[in-house]
Symmetry: none
Subunit: 189 residues, 4 copies
Amino acid sequence: MPKSQERCQEIREETRNLIIRKSILYFARNGFAGTKISDLSKHIGIAQGTIYIYFKSKEELYDEIFAISDKIASNDKLTMLAKLPLPAEQKIKKMSDYVIKNLKDDMFAAGIALFTQRLLEGEADQTFYKTTEKIIKQGQKEGTVVSGNARKLSEFYWGVVYLYAVKSLYTADCAMINSQDLSRILLEG
Amino acid sequence: MPKSQERCQEIREETRNLIIRKSILYFARNGFAGTKISDLSKHIGIAQGTIYIYFKSKEELYDEIFAISDKIASNDKLTMLAKLPLPAEQKIKKMSDYVIKNLKDDMFAAGIALFTQRLLEGEADQTFYKTTEKIIKQGQKEGTVVSGNARKLSEFYWGVVYLYAVKSLYTADCAMINSQDLSRILLEG
Amino acid sequence: MPKSQERCQEIREETRNLIIRKSILYFARNGFAGTKISDLSKHIGIAQGTIYIYFKSKEELYDEIFAISDKIASNDKLTMLAKLPLPAEQKIKKMSDYVIKNLKDDMFAAGIALFTQRLLEGEADQTFYKTTEKIIKQGQKEGTVVSGNARKLSEFYWGVVYLYAVKSLYTADCAMINSQDLSRILLEG
Amino acid sequence: MPKSQERCQEIREETRNLIIRKSILYFARNGFAGTKISDLSKHIGIAQGTIYIYFKSKEELYDEIFAISDKIASNDKLTMLAKLPLPAEQKIKKMSDYVIKNLKDDMFAAGIALFTQRLLEGEADQTFYKTTEKIIKQGQKEGTVVSGNARKLSEFYWGVVYLYAVKSLYTADCAMINSQDLSRILLEG
DNA sequence: CATGAATGAGTATTCATTCAT
DNA sequence: TATGAATGAATACTCATTCAT
């Protein structure tokens, strides 16, 4: 009696997700070259061979991880926030609140870390930065955001977020900045 | 033949320095695991074997590179600055000026990058952060620096410096923040 | 439930035969090392695990395949032919007719191919060559078969048969020699 | 003091040739799948890694081996022979003499074996068969070569050569056919 | 000293075999 | 029984290190 098609599909889905989920942290911490498949599989709790049932190579897994990190990082909250009829200062404060709160979640932190790494290599989607840029420009008109190139400020802001994402991945209980500190990067006085 | 011996010593010193100088950038960008001796030696322009005349192993070279990065990063300018009879706000502005100016130099940037990487792994000397802490505390008393844990703020400040150090190593002509942006991390209004 | 048990036995037999039948071609073409169980099972149309219900290992299946190839190759037609009260020339012509006709059947071709491969490794039963030897010796006495070591000529004859067996397994529609060409290996003028 | 450029080039050439020379026999006997790099390197007498200095992968080495086998197999002797002002019967006898004599040389045998294997897979150059075809047609006009499709007869002839090439690679001291036996494939009476 | 070919331990990947369903 | 996901030993390939020149 063969296993049912659906059950098989389900198992495959589960294992694939398990591998991805557990790999994100590993890769975010150790990078591509620093991650050994032997260690990774031990960490996941499966055999080495199993990884190769789901991914053709270490590189393909890494690419998948990156694709996922895009999804985690560039979530919709930010886009929605930008569209609300609020003063930019409020938006920035809310955004900072959201980010600082979520950075405690390793998955979110890893997503941000990987996303930004790829950005440095010029391979990530940047819609996410652009939304922030708009908020900054709005704030500059309203007189609440510091003057300067909006793009550069946006990069500055998310750069800091990246910094603390990596930090929290490395150090279990790191001294995190608070929402106010983060907002100060953009806000006047 | 004392003369010839000196000359020999000199040549040794030169090659050793060449290796170190060229390796800093490589390691700063790719990390330990991501750096292959075969690639590195090509980049330096010497044979693989030559590296092993000067360094027992890849690890020893890496350690040396780190030691150098400490020297580059924690230079005396900062210590001297802290001791001057100036208001903290001035000190911070001068410090930011100095940092932003020097970040254009790849060697300085690599030094900062490596130093901070090691810091994340909890292995670097921290005198350098402590000096900044003192300045922050002074500024908080003077009412010019934002309130909050001085250590945390110091880490924040240098974290941002690290961020732009790495950025400038990766991207030839990156949008650098200015001294004022950097200072704002610490200064009130 | 004797009826049901018989039926079970029947199904077992069927599956076992299916595996063997489909495997012969595969092994004959690709050899032992060149045949992957994963590919083979796909080709048969069953799951990988199923093969191991019927055979302890890849090697056991291979051995079984070889045993079968012996049966296919060294069939009784030849033995009977040798015993008939006919001149050797006739026997050789009939033998060649039989072989060339049957080589179109992949099963026969695979049998010959595998049998000869094993022969090269010195592991096959050789009664089959000996029968041909006898016919050759008879022919040499009768003056219709070329002179020379009978064993060597027998090997030559079956070597050529092997050659075209493999050829027909590889190329769907290969230029087959005819019975006369085959006989010429042994016959004078 | 660096090694001289020429000497290095020489060493590289030597090692590369050593690998190829020793690999031909190995691959001809065991095929691609049946050849392990670990065994092969032991057989050559070098480290596994050395093979990968000269060839990107096992497959690339195999391809190179095949390319070489073309050269060994389709040598100029045959082409020259075809052009001589001789009766076809003479040419065929000379050709058979040449082949049978050289088959004792493992290198020649391996060349023929690999060449023919590739031919079966439809990937080898066939100029070599065509030359034989011409000789056969000439002989058919002269009445010394058996009738039938010249291409088919050419394949038959070289098929037999292949057969004994493989045989001599497998069995140290095998019962080789003689030049006359080989010629009989093509010649009348 | 400097070179770069060679080494082999270490890492990635494959594949015969097992086992829960 | 039959399935196919999972396993891990076997195999391919890489790279830090050595060594003859």
